[in-house]
């Protein structure tokens, strides 16, 4: 167990290093974008004088490294600063949206993970059967349509017929049940997008083990195929499955901009795109760090869980 704690500690340190690299990369990239916040805020009617006045007011005249250092100092003291465009604290801007993003990600995960595990296990069990082929083909088809297109089709079938709303409107008085109902279509879209990957990986990981001697042994003992798969194959196939699940969870948190746009879902992705457009660097940085943290933590959890399920991984080179 001590080994695992040591590994977690080391990975967390590395994670912080990763976050630092990301903040540098993102800051550099935003600096390279044409135009700046003052120009974006004033729009096309800006004159040189108004631009200069606004730049001065926003502190955009400092050299880039100095601005980065200022930002970094703030973050190290736990202060993510204020949005330069609206002068609102970042925490306030990001807070509610982070909640929305997490809600949608967990909702979609709650639908997608059981679905893909069950489908994957059944496909491995009945490999090469009609069921295997059909579920595989269906899953592949659903990931080969662009996300926005899947969303439009779901809206056509399920929203225009009045079953579910075509957009999400969360207000202060929205109850949890309402939320589940309103967010069903975005969650379903995401489910269709991520299921194929997890399902195929589950199937592959299990089938990979079926040729091993100990499975052969279990089968020779006269165990039913279902029991063989559930008792012997799945536990040993957990490591790759956990990894792919973590990867897809990270995607559900960080990669859903398009679904947010189509369903008018107030999540972080749209906020980040807005902030990039407006060169509101403090907001871009804050969201990039949130996304990166989610990614790093999920990967860490996945590795820890894989290690627990398969201690041999601990001693890998």
């Amino acid at each position: 167990m001590a080994d695992i704690w040591r590994m977690i500690g080391r990975r967390l340190l590395l994670g912080i290093l990763t976050l630092f690299v990301i903040s540098l990369v993102i800051f550099g990239a935003t600096e390279l974008l044409p135009g700046d916040l003052a120009r974006e805020l004033l729009g096309q009617s800006a004159t040189e004088e108004t631009l200069a006045a606004l730049r001065e007011q926003l502190g955009l005249n400092d050299p880039a490294p100095l601005r980065y250092l200022k930002w970094l100092m703030g973050v190290l003291q736990g202060d993510f600063g204020v949005s330069m465009a609206t002068q609102k604290p970042i925490a306030e801007l990001v807070g509610a949206r982070l909640g929305n993003t997490m809600f949608l990600a967990l909702y979609a995960a709650a639908l997608a993970i059981p679905l893909s595990l069950v489908l994957g296990i059944l496909a491995a069990l009945w490999r090469n059967s009609i069921f295997d082929r059909a579920s595989n083909a269906l899953a592949l088809t659903s990931i080969s349509f662009p996300e926005f297109f899947v969303a439009y089709i779901l809206v056509l079938w399920l929203a225009q017929t009045g079953i579910f709303p075509s957009m999400v409107r969360i207000t202060g008085s929205t109850t949890f049940g309402d939320r589940l109902y309103m967010s069903f279509l975005p969650a379903l879209t995401l489910t269709l997008v991520v299921t194929a990957h997890m399902m195929r990986m589950t199937r592959a990981a299990i089938i990979n083990l079926l040729a091993s001697p100990y499975i052969e042994m279990a089968r020779l003992k006269g165990m039913s195929p279902l029991r063989v798969v559930l008792r012997h194959a799945v536990p040993n196939a957990l490591a790759p499955i956990i990894n792919v699940v973590a990867l897809n969870l990270a995607y559900l948190i960080t990669g859903v901009v398009i679904v947010e746009v189509v369903f008018v879902y107030p999540g972080l992705g749209q906020l980040m795109v807005d902030a990039v457009t407006n060169r509101d660097i403090a907001v871009v940085q804050a969201i990039a760090l949130i996304f990166a943290t989610a990614y790093v933590l999920l990967n860490l959890i996945a590795d820890v869980m894989s290690t627990i399920t398969n201690p041999r991984l601990m001693h890998r080179r």
Binding site: L14, L17, T18, V21, I22, V25, I26, A29, T30, L32, L33, P34, R127, N128, R133, N136, A137, L140, T141, I143, S144, F145, P146, E147, F148, F149, Y152, I153, V155, L156, Q160, H197, A204, I207, N208, L210, A211, T254, G255, V257, I258, V261, G269, M272, V273, V276, A288, F291, A292, Y295, V296, R316, R317
Partner: protein, 304 residues
Amino acid sequence: MTIFLSLIVGLALFFAIGISARAAFRTLAPDHQKPTFRDMPLTASFGIAIILVYVLVSLLGPVIAPFGEGEVVGAQYLPWAAPHYLGTDKLGRDMLTRLVYGARNTVGIAFATTILAFVVGSVLGIWAALVGGWVDNWMSRFVDALMAIPALIFSLLLLTIFGTSVLTLILVIAAVDATRVYRLARSVAQDIVVMDYIEAARLRGENNWRLIRREILPNAMAPLVAEFGLRFCFVFLAISALSFLGLGIKPPTADWGSMVRENATLIAFGDVTPLLPAGAIALLTVAVNFVVDWQLHRASGLKE
């Protein structure tokens, strides 16, 4: 009802194509290859047939297409009737022609991008695993950092900075994809480099490049091929997603991803136009992965 009918027609077509393709491969294949094709599942022969059709259409595009790529041939949204068998698009260009040229452009770009991503990603990944030490550490940390930035937003940043020519599009998507390939290749190679035969080859004095090419790559091929199948298809989706955000392939070049986007609002009225390019992408994805599955199955040695 229509859905049910098209399902039946689709299945019938699938079997017809699969069976006839398998028969054709068996007769045409050289003798020593014949056993390979004998056990081929229908899905695989169907996949190969579809891929061959796509390749043919891509190569012969200008010959097959009834009109010019960007040629405006009439009013917008003409119905499906001769000489415009699939109607026209919003600018009055022949839909069939656009689809045919789209095959050429889309498949070409996706192929170039995936190859580039795999060459860069797998060579660096295997090299990192082979050399180990600080090179491996630093490269892996950097790749980890890049991967933690959402791919779509990262490509969006890069494309806004560097412009959206086809070349930058290929480079940017390949760069983003290469990080994923790097990770996979590294983890696969890590298991291989500790094998005895690698040690033996090292002792023989083989240099790193030769080790990668001759010893490691052949043994790491199976998972890489599987990844290739999916990555290849994700390129279409990436282009489509980027064109949703206003940065795709430049007009008047026809490409399926942008064509889905251009016509997507029509789906709200149940119009099938956007389904054509979307279906073209889907069919290719399914076909490629059927073949990949078959190859993986053969590699795994599982006999059932």
